[in-house]
C-alpha cells in the first residue's frame, strides 16, 4: 500500500477548518441479548464462550423465528440517553436495515431509523489544556450487533483474498446503543484530542451507569470517526470520510490527526476527497480506503413489523432519571477534591483515560496517591511501550492488592514492579504471584543479620568508617546485603540493622 502524502498538521490547520463527527457504539452488558433469550457475550459472565454456543433460533435467523425486545436493554438505553442530556421519545420504533452480509443472520439488521429512543443531547468534555467543549448529541438509538467473521487464508486477514471464512454468531444480537454527535465545529487543533476525550467521557458514563463493560480492546466500545475539512472562510462542509476499527483512545486521536493531514494534502494538491469508510491500521498509524459510502446507500429501511413501538411510561423515565449517577464533569471536580490531588496530578489521570481505573482502585482499598502512582506510572509506561490502553493490562482490584502489599511492607517498589509484570502476564493475583515466585521481602531479621555480618566481615574498612561515625559509608554494605538477598529486603530496615551491628561489634 502506497503511503499517502501528509501535510504538516499546523499547516493543514492554517489552510483548512476540521469538522468532526463521532459515532460511538456501546455494547450493553445485559444478561441476555437484544431480541432473544441467548446469553449476552458482552456480559462478563459469558466472555469466554466457545464460538456459536450463545445462540438460539433467533440469533441464527432460522425460518419462523421472531425477535422479542429485551426490557433491560430498553432501561439501559433510556438511562444512557438521559445521562447524555437527551430527550427520551414517548414512542420509538425499530426498523429493518436491509443488506446482505454473511455475518448478518437475517440479512437485515434490526435498528432504529427515523424514531430513535433518545435525541438532542449535550455532553461536556474538558481537554488537557483546560478547554471545555459542549459536544452536541444528535441521537442515541438501539440496535443489534452482527456476528463475527474470521477470514482464513490470504495475507491480510480481510475478506479479499481469503480462502474461506468462519462465522461466529455469538455476537449476533448483542444489544448496542449507537450515539451519534452532530458535526462538531471550532475544535481546530484540538479536534484529535477532543475526539479521544469525548469517547473517554462516554466510557465514564457507561461505566458509572453500570450498563456496559466499556472496554475498547474487547469491542464493548467502538468509535467511528468522521472527519472533513473545509477551506478557511468556506460555508459548505467538505466531503467526509468515516474511519472505522479505531479501538483505543490513543488511536482515535492519531486517526483523526492522520485524516486531517491526509485530506489536507489531497485538497491542497487540487484533489478531492472520496466519501468512503476507511480502516485504521494500528501498526502503521495510517488509514486505508474501505467501502465507498454515499448518502444514497439504500438500506430500504422500513418499520420492523415483528415488534411493537417502544413506549416507556413517564414514571419509568423519571425513576431512571432519579437514579442517574452524577455527571462526569461534576464527578471529576468532586474526586479531585476528595483525593487531594494537584491540578497537574489530576489532569494526568484524566488525560491518560485512567480516571475510572484510579477510582475503582481507590474503592478497592488503595490510597489515592498509590492508585495514581501505579496507573499513571508503571502501567502507563508499559501500555505506551506495548501500544495498548493501560486499562487492558491489569484490573483495579489487582492494582489495589499490589499497593496494599507495598504498604504492608511485604513488597518493595522494585519487587512490586516484578509482581506487576506477573499480573500483566496473567499469572494470577499479586499475592499468588508473590507466593509462586517467592518475591516477598525478607522480614526475618536473623536472615538479614547473617548477611550483614558477612558483608561487614568482608569489608573491614567500611566497618571502621561506620564506627568512626561516617554513617554514609554504610551504603556499600547495604548494597552488598541487598544483592545477597536478591533484592527481597527492605532497604530501610537493612540500614537500621547495619548501623546496629556495626556499632555492636
Amino acid at each position: 500500500m502506497a503511503r499517502a502524502a501528509l501535510m504538516d498538521f499546523d499547516k493543514a490547520l492554517e489552510l483548512f477548518e476540521p469538522v468532526i463527527g463521532l459515532e460511538v457504539h456501546v455494547e450493553l452488558n445485559t444478561t441476555t441479548k437484544m431480541f432473544s433469550s441467548a446469553p449476552n457475550p458482552a456480559n462478563s459472565a459469558f466472555h469466554d464462550a466457545a464460538p456459536n454456543t450463545l445462540i438460539t433460533p433467533v440469533c441464527l435467523g432460522l425460518p419462523g423465528s421472531l425477535p422479542v425486545v429485551n426490557e433491560q436493554a430498553i432501561r439501559s438505553s433510556i438511562s444512557l440517553g438521559l445521562a447524555l442530556g437527551c430527550s427520551i421519545a414517548e414512542s420509538s420504533r425499530f426498523a429493518r436495515k436491509n443488506y446482505f452480509y454473511p455475518d448478518l443472520a437475517k440479512n437485515y439488521q434490526i435498528s432504529q431509523y427515523d424514531e430513535p429512543i433518545a435525541f438532542d443531547g449535550e455532553v461536556e468534555v474538558e481537554l488537557e489544556n483546560g478547554r471545555i467543549f459542549q459536544v452536541p448529541i444528535e441521537r442515541a438509538h438501539m440496535e443489534e450487533d452482527a456476528g463475527k467473521l474470521t477470514h482464513i487464508g490470504g495475507a491480510t486477514g480481510r475478506i479479499q483474498g481469503a480462502e474461506y471464512s468462519l462465522v461466529d454468531y455469538n455476537r449476533a444480537g448483542v444489544p448496542l446503543v449507537e450515539i451519534v454527535t452532530r458535526p462538531i465545529f471550532g475544535a481546530e487543533a484540538d479536534a484529535p484530542a477532543l475526539a479521544s476525550a469525548y469517547v473517554s467521557i462516554i466510557r465514564d458514563i457507561a461505566l458509572s451507569l453500570g450498563i456496559s463493560e466499556a472496554r475498547m480492546e474487547r469491542g464493548n466500545l467502538r468509535c467511528d470517526a468522521n472527519v472533513s475539512l473545509r477551506p478557511r472562510g468556506a460555508e459548505k462542509l467538505g466531503t467526509r470520510t468515516e474511519t472505522k476499527n479505531v479501538n483505543s483512545f490513543r488511536s482515535i486521536e492519531r486517526a483523526v490527526r492522520y485524516e486531517i493531514q491526509r485530506q489536507a494534502a489531497i485538497l491542497a494538491d487540487g484533489g478531492s476527497i472520496t466519501q468512503e469508510t476507511r480502516h485504521w491500521h494500528e501498526d502503521t498509524g495510517t488509514t486505508s480506503a474501505g467501502r465507498p459510502k454515499s448518502d444514497a446507500d439504500d438500506y430500504r429501511y422500513f418499520p420492523e413489523p415483528d415488534l411493537l413501538p417502544v413506549v416507556p411510561s413517564p414514571e419509568l423515565i423519571e425513576q431512571l432519571r432519579a437514579e442517574l449517577p452524577e455527571p462526569p464533569a461534576a464527578r471529576r471536580r468532586r474526586l479531585k477534591a476528595e483525593w487531594g490531588f494537584t491540578d497537574i496530578d489530576f489532569q494526568g489521570v484524566v488525560n491518560s483515560n485512567l480516571l475510572v481505573e484510579v477510582t475503582e482502585t481507590v474503592a478497592a482499598g488503595a490510597t489515592p496517591a498509590a492508585a495514581r502512582k501505579w496507573w499513571t506510572g508503571e502501567l502507563a509506561r508499559i501500555a505506551n511501550a506495548q501500544n495498548v490502553d493501560a486499562a487492558s493490562l491489569a484490573s483495579p482490584a489487582h492494582v489495589a492488592e499490589l499497593a496494599g502489599l507495598v504498604e504492608a511492607g511485604t513488597l518493595t517498589d522494585r519487587l512490586a514492579r516484578q509482581v506487576l509484570e506477573g499480573v500483566i502476564a496473567g499469572e494470577g493475583s499479586p499475592q499468588q504471584i508473590v507466593d509462586a515466585r517467592g518475591l516477598a521481602v525478607v522480614s526475618d531479621d536473623s536472615a538479614l543479620i547473617a548477611a550483614i555480618d558477612q558483608a561487614l566481615a568482608s569489608q573491614p574498612d567500611v566497618l571502621e568508617k561506620i564506627r568512626d561515625g561516617k554513617v554514609q559509608a554504610a551504603g556499600a554494605v547495604i548494597g552488598a546485603v541487598m544483592k545477597a538477598m536478591q533484592g527481597k529486603a527492605d532497604a530501610a530496615r537493612v540500614r537500621e540493622l547495619v548501623l546496629e551491628r556495626a556499632t555492636a561489634q
Partner: protein
C-alpha cells in the same frame, strides 16, 4: 371407506375419550387414507407415519394411565408446511429449504402436540405462501378433491384438500391475504383467519409479518372453534401476540343463534364481478339467516377497492426482507457456481436456483417499493390505504355486528388456467385481503354448490378485531341451518376418491 375418517374432529375426539376408538386406530385409518388417495390429491409434502403412530400410542398410554385431556386429544391433524416442526422437514413449498430439518417446533405445533393431537405430516402450499392455487409449490400442485383437474385454492391448498379428501379431520393453515379462507371456499371446507395476534406466529415461516396469521382448516365450524381454542393465546416469543385471554369459541358455536344479529353486506364485494352461482348461493344464505332473525344491512366500504393494490405493495415489501435470510449460509440449499465463487456469488446462485418465478417476482416488486425515492409513493401510500381500510371497517362495525361477502369471486378454476396471468390470480383474493390489512378475523364456510359447475361455494363473515366469537356464532348457526336444508354436510356430495386408489398405487405415489 373407513367410518373413522368420516367423523368430525369433535366426534372422533369424543369416541377416543369414550374408549370406542384408540388414537392409534384413528391415526392408522388416516394414514391408510393418505396412502390410498394422496397420489391423486397430493395434499402432503411429507407424511410422518412412524412419528404419528408413536405419538398416538403415547397419548393412548397416558390416557390409560388416567391423564386428563382436552376434546381433541388423540385426533390426527395435518400441518401446513409453513410451520416449522422439530424433526420433520419444513420447506414452505420451496426448493430453497429442501431437506432442512428445523431444530424447534412452531408455537401452534407445540400447542397441538400438548393438547394430545397427532401431527400426520406437512401439507403442500404455494412457495412461501405466495399464490391462490398451490401451483407455485416447488413440489407440484395439489388437486381439488371435487375435481382433480382443478385448483384446491392457495396458498393453503394442501391443508384444505387433505381435510376435504378425508386424509385428516382437520389441519393448520396460514392466512396472509386469504390462504385459509379461499381454499376453504373452493373445497367445501371451513377456514378461519383469527384476529391478528390471536395465534402466535413463532415458527411460522414469515411471508408478510404484519399480515400473516395462523388458523384452523376443518370440515365443521365446531371443529374450527375447538382448534382455535387450542392454538390461541399469548406467546412470549411473539411480541405481536395479544396478551389478553380468549373466551371459548366452541361455546360460541354450541350457543349459536343469529336472532337479532345485524349482518352487513359489503356493496363493493357483491358485484357483477362475482360468478353467478357464487353470488346466488351467497344471497340464498343471507335470506336463510334473515328468515331466522338476522337483520341484513347494506354497507359501503369505499376503500376496499384499493385494498388489493395496497396489499400487493405491503406484502412484497415485507416479503423481500423476510426472504433475505435464505442465502445458503446457515441452512437449506447451497448452490456454488462452477469453479467456486465468492460468498456473494454463492448467495446469488442459491437464490437464483432455489426460488421460483412468483417468489422472485414479489421480491423484486418489494425491493423496488422500499427503495429510496420510491418508498413514500409506494410503501408509504399503501400504508395510508391500509389505514383507510381499517376506518371503513370501524365505520361498518359501528352499524353491524358482522360483515358478509362471497369468499372469492369464482369457484375452483382449472389447473394452469391462470398460471400465466398473475394479475387475474391476485384478484382471487379481493374479498379476503381487507381482513388481513385491518387485522380483523374472518371465516369461510360452505354455502352450497354453484348450479353452473357443481363446485363448492363459500360464504365469508368478518368481525371486529378480538370478536372472533361472533364469527363462530354466525358461522355455527348458518352451518346448522344449511345442513338441515341439505340433509347432510356438503362434503358428503364430494366424489369418492377411492377409485383413484389403484391409479395412485400404480404410479407408486408416496
Amino acid at each position: 371407506m373407513s367410518e373413522i375418517i368420516r367423523l368430525t374432529a369433535a366426534e372422533l375426539g369424543a369416541k377416543i375419550a369414550a374408549g370406542d376408538v384408540s388414537s392409534v386406530e384413528a391415526t392408522r385409518a388416516h394414514l391408510d387414507r393418505i396412502a390410498a388417495v394422496d397420489g391423486a390429491v397430493h395434499a402432503f409434502l411429507h407424511v410422518d407415519a412412524e412419528g404419528a403412530l408413536a405419538a398416538a400410542a403415547d397419548v393412548d398410554r397416558r390416557r390409560a394411565a388416567g391423564e386428563a385431556f382436552g376434546p381433541l386429544a388423540g385426533v390426527p391433524i395435518a400441518v401446513k408446511d409453513v410451520l416449522v416442526t422439530e424433526g420433520m422437514p419444513s420447506t414452505a413449498g420451496s426448493r430453497i429449504l429442501e431437506g432442512w430439518i428445523p431444530p424447534y417446533d412452531a408455537t401452534p405445533v407445540r400447542l397441538v402436540r400438548e393438547a394430545g393431537m397427532i401431527p400426520l405430516g406437512k401439507t403442500n402450499m404455494d412457495e412461501f405462501a405466495m399464490g391462490s392455487s398451490t401451483e407455485h409449490s416447488a413440489y407440484g400442485p395439489t388437486h381439488n378433491p371435487w375435481d382433480l383437474d382443478r385448483i384446491p385454492g392457495g396458498s393453503g391448498g394442501g391443508s384444505a384438500a387433505s381435510v376435504a379428501a378425508f386424509e385428516a379431520p382437520l389441519a393448520l393453515g396460514s392466512d396472509t391475504g386469504g390462504s385459509i379462507r379461499q381454499p376453504a371456499h373452493v373445497t367445501g371446507t371451513v377456514g378461519v383467519k383469527p384476529t391478528y395476534g390471536a395465534v402466535s406466529r413463532y415458527g411460522s415461516i414469515a411471508l408478510a409479518s404484519s399480515l400473516d396469521q395462523i388458523g384452523p382448516v376443518t370440515r365443521t365450524v365446531l371443529d374450527a372453534a375447538l382448534l382455535q381454542d387450542v392454538i390461541a393465546g399469548h406467546d412470549p416469543h411473539d411480541s405481536t401476540s395479544i396478551a389478553e385471554p380468549w373466551p371459548s369459541m366452541a361455546d360460541a358455536v354450541r350457543r349459536a343463534d343469529v336472532a337479532g344479529v345485524r349482518i352487513g353486506v359489503v356493496k363493493q364485494l357483491d358485484s357483477d364481478g362475482v360468478q353467478a352461482g357464487v353470488r346466488s348461493r351467497f344471497h340464498e344464505a343471507l335470506a336463510l339467516l334473515e328468515r331466522n332473525g338476522a337483520e341484513i344491512v347494506e354497507i359501503d366500504a369505499p376503500s376496499f377497492e384499493y385494498a388489493i393494490a395496497a396489499y400487493y405493495l405491503i406484502l412484497p415489501a415485507e416479503a423481500s426482507s423476510n426472504l433475505a435470510k435464505f442465502d445458503s449460509v446457515r441452512f437449506g440449499l447451497r448452490v456454488t457456481p462452477e469453479g467456486g465463487g465468492t460468498v456473494e456469488q454463492v448467495m446469488a446462485a442459491t437464490r437464483e436456483a432455489g426460488f421460483g418465478p412468483e417468489v422472485k417476482r414479489r421480491i423484486i416488486l418489494g425491493t423496488y417499493a422500499l427503495s429510496a425515492g420510491y418508498y413514500d409513493a409506494y410503501y408509504g401510500s399503501a400504508q395510508k390505504v391500509r389505514t383507510l381500510v381499517q376506518r371503513d371497517f370501524d365505520a361498518a362495525f359501528a352499524k353491524v355486528d358482522v360483515l358478509a361477502t362471497p369468499t372469492a369471486p369464482t369457484t375452483a378454476f382449472k389447473l394452469g388456467e391462470k398460471l400465466d396471468d398473475p394479475l387475474s390470480m391476485y384478484l382471487n383474493d379481493v374479498a379476503t385481503i381487507p381482513a388481513n390489512l385491518a387485522g380483523v378475523p374472518g371465516i369461510s364456510l360452505p354455502a352450497g354448490l354453484a348450479p353452473e359447475d357443481g363446485l363448492p361455494v363459500g360464504i365469508q363473515f368478518l368481525a371486529p378485531a378480538r370478536q372472533d366469537a361472533r364469527l363462530y356464532n354466525v358461522g355455527g348457526a348458518l352451518e346448522r341451518l344449511l345442513e338441515a336444508e341439505w340433509g347432510a354436510p356438503l362434503l358428503s356430495r364430494a366424489p369418492d376418491l377411492s377409485s383413484h386408489e389403484m391409479a395412485a398405487a400404480e404410479e407408486g405415489a408416496l
